[in-house]
Amino acid sequence: MTSLVKARSVSKNFGAVRAVDNVSFEIEKGKILGLIGPNGAGKTTLLKAVLGLTDCEGDLSVLGLDPFKQRKKLMQNICFIADVAVLPRWIKVSQLLDYVEAIHPNFSRSRAEELLLQTSVRSGAKVKELSKGMVTQLHLSIIMAIDAKLLVLDEPTLGLDILFRKEFYANLLNDYFDEERTILITTHQVEEIENLLTDIMFINDGRILLDSSMDALSDTYVEVLASGEGAQKARGLGPIAESEMFGKSIMLFEGVSREHLDGLGELRIPSVADLFVAKIKEARR
């Protein structure tokens, strides 16, 4: 497998605040990696370092380039949507296409126009005249018309209604993603994207709490729904998190085989959201 992003002991300080603390990871080609963390965890800082928008300590290589020093070259093969609100409000759609066409060597205007035809965004409209959902459609159409190796999405659907959110991810998967492309995404709405992720990374207080493929996740983590004696026995096996629901205990186990847990209660694959909460609580203990 080819690693597009290689981070070794990457850190970033803002004065006395350590936003990213000595993290190391790799992102391989053809993956969709979800970077999940609470507010202020260091997600956006880490993404900015990957995008060359901020400098950092340690070794960071993206597509074989130093992102901060070689940002212009990097941006020819990386796209990012930082937030739906960042398109300039004064610009016309046609001007935006003119600009990207003139600046970006890997942009296909015809492809962007083709994608825009499937939306209600018209080329003569100004961005400020569009709804938030339409701005997202416009931004996504531009991004999808760029032949990039890595797409970075930082809370791309923030503030959008459920219809636009679903459509956004459906378009991304159906019309954009292939084995040659890699997507790095952060979002708070983790339950909406967990089915499309191939890999997941949890970050808290600038440190990586979990870095795993989704397949490995189901092998490593098991949730047990138990009561009475089964719950007692399960508790003895050292769950990393426990909660109560409808009189039953829900326990989350890490690295405990299913054979050990069989017969103690109902075994389930934990949701990413439940796993995230458990890992954060574990880290804060």
Partner: protein, 305 residues
């Protein structure tokens, strides 16, 4: 670096429509003013009507040239004043607005460097806005010469002689272009300062741009009882090296106009060699370079998103 400039500068024109709306508005206002003046003049005797732009019987050729050249220089002056305000407000807004509306994240997602972006704004302020201003001046002159010619012809005068033959249009237009472009280059240290403030100020860039020089000037006066700092800044504004040999007062004295056609040439009063060899020209470019580099650095390293 160069290849992206046309697209980046075009973007500036899309965003800052005042760059071309302002000269167009001045052109319209000046033209309406001239029309009003002509209509007002029509209310007087025929002799006065024609005398305004110099009939051969009433006014001499020299006076006629003086009036028309005065009109040319006067309208150019209005554009120059507007150019000054336009450049200040454009420069202060250009790198501030993109941070305010967060669109900087979109612009920086494109393969254009911070240096390319800041330089495109410097070029827009120092070259593009002056050139558009020059076009505005030319258009205003042309439209008003046509309007005046129609008026003089309607009054029975020979516009070919009285208007078109009385002023060196090409000389005036080249002079206007040189003055506006030279002013952009001469003022480039100020432009670069405004760009730096634009990318650095968290809020109210106009206050941040003007307060430090005023405070420094006051401190100098309080501590040393001297005014070198503010005097240096003030003297920078008079474009002296371009008009070394010209006295504005003498330029409009009647005797000057009676000396002959040569004295009416604005170009003849310009000292382009003196301008580009003046130490102030090069020191200005050096300061501009330093402040532009600082603006690029701040845009590159600043992270307040």
């Amino acid at each position: 670096m160069i290849a992206h400039q046309p697209a980046l500068i075009k973007r500036e024109l899309w965003e800052h429509r005042s760059i071309y709306v302002t000269p167009a508005a001045i052109a319209v206002i000046v033209t309406l003013g001239v029309l009003a003046m002509l209509m007002l003049a029509s209310g007087f005797a025929k002799e006065l009507d024609v005398a305004i732009f110099g009939a051969q019987n009433v006014a001499g050729e020299a006076e006629r040239r003086a009036v028309l050249t005065g009109f040319f220089v006067g309208t150019s002056w209005v554009f120059l004043v507007a150019l000054m305000f336009l450049t200040v407000f454009y420069s202060l807004d250009s790198l501030y607005a993109e941070r305010k509306d967060k669109s900087i994240l979109f612009w920086r997602s494109m393969p254009a460097t911070d240096a390319e972006t800041v330089i495109s704004k410097l070029l827009t302020a120092a070259i593009v806005i002056p050139v558009i201003t020059a076009v505005g001046i030319w258009a205003t002159h042309l439209v008003n010469l046509i309007v005046t010619s129609l008026w003089v012809s309607a009054k029975g005068g020979d516009a070919g002689v009285l208007i078109w033959g009385s002023v060196s249009i090409l000389d005036n237009w080249i002079a206007a272009l040189i003055v506006v472009v030279a002013s952009g280059i001469w003022m480039s240290p100020f432009i670069a300062w405004f760009l730096f403030v634009s990318t650095w100020a968290k809020r109210m860039p106009i206050l941040m741009a003007f307060m430090p020089p005023i405070v420094l000037g006051l401190l100098e006066w309080i501590v040393f009882r001297t005014q070198y700092f503010l005097t240096t800044i003030g003297e920078r504004g008079d474009m002296t090296p371009l008009f070394h040999s010209m006295s504005l007062e003498r330029f409009f004295e009647e005797e000057q106009w009676r000396d002959g056609v040569e004295n009416i040439s604005l170009l003849q009063h310009m000292d382009l060699v003196g301008f580009v060899t003046d130490p102030g020209f090069w020191s200005g470019l050096l300061v501009c370079g330093i402040l532009t580099t600082a603006a690029i650095y701040v845009r590159r390293y600043r992270d307040d998103s």
